[in-house]
Symmetry: C2
Subunit: 337 residues, 2 copies
């Protein structure tokens, strides 16, 4: 059905359309690409590609534009991830290397990715469920309140105030702190629930109430309600694009954290890079955008994801290259910390 040349034509259509943002005609293709055939032949191939739904024409006497299906084929079979140039890689390295704590690493990563791709970048904080507990700190705040601070091995810090409903002594708190740390330091957060299960029993009865409060807040905040933190940058890059859907819809979608999380969460491809094109996106505001995302992590353990949102007519090889490279560097930086 689709011989080599037709595929070459499709590839050329995608590349030209991405460059020019205008429907591309047979003559232009013949001129700019070494296809070795005349415009007429290309036209014939184009009808075939159009019948199969890979390209479409906005109106009768216009050139062709790739459809989502066309982009999909392009990404899957017609293109390869474009590695970054050496200067680009050095720039990444030095830019990310200067970060001092997790917040800064994440903030820099998202800005970097936005700048590199000239699109909207999304970075997820390292997942809590896949991190392990480094230390739990309990700080009496006076009155009946305690602040709990959990520090993970990935540098993430979560804090929560616990209203104890009974007065707590310094002593009780430090006992509880020691016990907690003995129990769960080094433990994966996902294993925390069963690990602390029998802890209240070990607490002297007079402090059991407060221990139960602390544990319930711990579990609720870290495990059950694993709100993933996400940051975003480069929305200004959207202004350069004209979307089929209204701009506003795209911005609105990007402001919803739940949407972003799900956007990155959709893992079709078990390998590193996932691309979700146009109508493939679950959210209707994002039907005219594509999302390129990747896992990052330390070693071969995935901690979270990063991604880029842009128009369907994006430079897929370049974007994929940037996302992959940044994901790798973030992993390295986190490992080195």
């Amino acid at each position: 059905m689709l011989n080599e040349r037709k595929l070459a034509v499709l590839r050329a259509v995608v590349e030209d359309f991405v460059n020019t943002n205008e429907p591309v005609g047979s003559r232009a293709l013949a001129d700019r690409h070494p296809l070795g055939v005349s415009p007429a032949t290309i036209r014939n191939d184009m009808v075939a590609l159009e019948e199969d739904g890979y390209i479409a024409q906005p109106h009768t006497s216009a050139g062709r534009v790739p459809t989502d299906k066309g982009y999909r084929l392009f990404v899957d079979r017609l293109s390869s991830v474009k590695p970054l140039s050496a200067p680009e890689r050095r720039a990444i390295e030095s830019f990310l290397g200067g970060a001092v704590d997790l917040d800064e690493i994440v903030a820099r990563t998202v800005r970097l990715l936005a700048q590199l791709t000239r699109q909207v970048a999304i970075v997820q904080y390292p997942s809590l469920t896949r991190s392990s507990v480094q230390h739990v700190e309990l700080v009496p705040l006076g009155g009946q309140r305690i602040m709990m601070v959990v520090i993970t091995d990935t540098g993430r810090v979560e804090q929560r105030v616990i209203d104890g409903l009974e007065a707590v002594s310094e002593h009780a708190v430090s006992d509880l702190r020691a016990m907690l740390n003995r129990a769960i330091a080094g433990c994966y957060l996902s294993d925390v629930p069963e690990t602390v299960d029998d802890l209240p029993a070990q607490v002297p009865p007079e402090h059991r109430g407060i221990a139960v409060s602390v544990l319930s807040v711990l579990l609720e905040s870290l495990v059950e309600r694993h709100e993933e933190k996400i940051v975003l940058a480069g929305t200004a890059n959207l202004a350069a694009v004209d979307f089929a859907a209204s701009f506003r819809d795209v911005l609105e979608a990007l402001e919803e954290n739940m949407v972003l999380i799900r956007l990155l969460g959709e893992e079709k491809d078990p390998s590193m890079l996932t691309v979700s094109i146009g109508e493939e996106n679950f959210h209707k505001g994002l039907r005219s955008t594509s999302v390129v995302s990747a896992d990052y992590g330390v070693g071969n353990q995935s901690l979270a994801k990063i991604g880029v949102v842009g128009p369907t007519r994006m430079d897929y090889p370049g974007t994929m290259g940037a996302v992959r490279a940044v994901a790798r560097y973030v992993g390295q930086i986190l490992a080195g910390q």
Copy 2:
């Protein structure tokens, strides 16, 4: 020069233009406002207003549009802050009341303000310099590293990793922790530098190196480099507006934290509400926007600011009412915590 009626005309021009987003003519004014005079008279007043630079016409046969100077006069003398309706106030209260920690309070506040004003909302975290230290925690991370966590009375938590360059014992750390807390708990952050000045001298010589490292990081992270944290919401609301400056410029300006900080920082008015209109803004990308900002705080101590960015043709009384109301509620919530 500007008699009562001319001012009334200006007010009417502003109000109508804000409503319709179209240049407003003398006939429309006479119809929609009880000025008690004919269109011809209004026309005469309009030439006067135009000569004084309060209004302008896009082209000869069009109606008038307020200038920045016109808006300024309107805000200063012709309008009054519009209080929120009772249902609106209840909605604020219940929405903000549900927040559990500082992050959530801030996140909810910014969303609320964006929704209320249908514009871009900015909320600054409570300033570190005006908070007092509740507790300092030092956690040995193993090896030569220590994590320092500072908790303030406003619920803000700052953490930083210190690379000690020498091995530290549990014991040394807890000594240092106790000493630090004795010295600076309850102390305003701005007073911390002088308070800890003579602290190293009290440390046994063998731990003095680590004490100095800890103190320098403490000072550097909390006082000198008082990076103010800022969050933002409602950028999608910008899509509904057509700016003189490009949209992209506005979005870019809003992505720069430094710009936002300075935007809120400009305090012209010693009272609660500050309004900065169009060309008054220092940033060129924001020359076609106005900023309404207010302090919030506990008691009469200001902690930080919140604000709204919108087109110069915004509903000033309504926006100012919303900003003022939200600022008050946030203060109350923080006080109650």
